[in-house]
Amino acid sequence: MEFYETTEGRLGLRDIPPVLADLLRQIPHSGDRDSDEVEERFFPRPSDDPDEEDLRDDWRAHVEPELHGIFQSARVVVEADLRGMKEEEDVYALEFSRGHADSWLNALNQARLALVTQHRFSEEELSSPRPALIRNERDLALLQLTLYEYIQHWLVEVLEP
């Protein structure tokens, strides 16, 4: 798989093996977004001070719906870009506007956070070498995390001011 940037300001991935293309298609849906733990991680409290109950109430009422909108809009952008993924012989290719890079970074972060929270990966597991064999759903989630991390690194480089 190769990352590239065109002179017209488009970003792309080519020579994507089918298994990785499947994992890319899962970006907007990875992890159990409805679980309380994932919800808690996506919408953390703005303060732990016991005297700040009013702030937390305001946050739940006014900020969280806005954050919901931001997260959903990023996933919608990525999902639409992914629908444009093309099969070229035995591999896939995907191109999207550079202007979508922020949405991609956000959606990838959502996917990674949801997967880590759902599978309860420890910090040690996340920094250890990835399993050589995919034997179960947990190993597959680690492969997904590696792929998403890889793409995020590239997008950060692209967006560096």
Binding site: F42, F43, P44, R45, P46, S47, D48, D49, D54, L55, D58, W59, A61, H62, V63, E66, L67, I70, L105, N106, N109, Q110, R112, L113, V116, E123, L126, S127, E149, Q152, H153, V156, E157, L159, E160, P161
Partner: protein
């Protein structure tokens, strides 16, 4: 961010609230094992306009010490920054500066 109540308040109470909200507040970013170091640096640059060195210094502090005070000032602005950081899925809180 805070929603104003419709109830009329005594001037002394109002003055007290104003002076409390004028106290310096800090924005704290907390460590989490998922966000990439390069991503956190990028978000600090984007949200606060930090130069690269300053953004990296705060990112390293978060990584090594578990938290970093990334900004201090008025409460409303502090809440705005926390909201921006949450929108990028960073763990951030506001705290009153002593």
């Amino acid at each position: 961010m805070r929603v104003g109540a419709e109830v009329k308040e005594a001037p002394v109470e109002k003055a007290k609230q104003k002076s409390e909200s004028d106290l310096p507040w800090s924005v704290i970013v907390h460590n989490d094992p998922v966000n990439l170091m390069s991503y956190v640096t990028l978000i600090f640059r984007k949200v606060f306009g930090f130069p690269r060195e300053k953004a990296e210094r705060h990112m390293m502090e978060v990584h090594q010490k578990g938290r970093s005070v990334v900004w201090a000032g008025g409460r409303e602005q502090a809440e705005f920054y926390v909201q921006q950081l949450h929108a990028h899925l960073l763990l951030a809180t506001i705290e009153r500066l002593d």
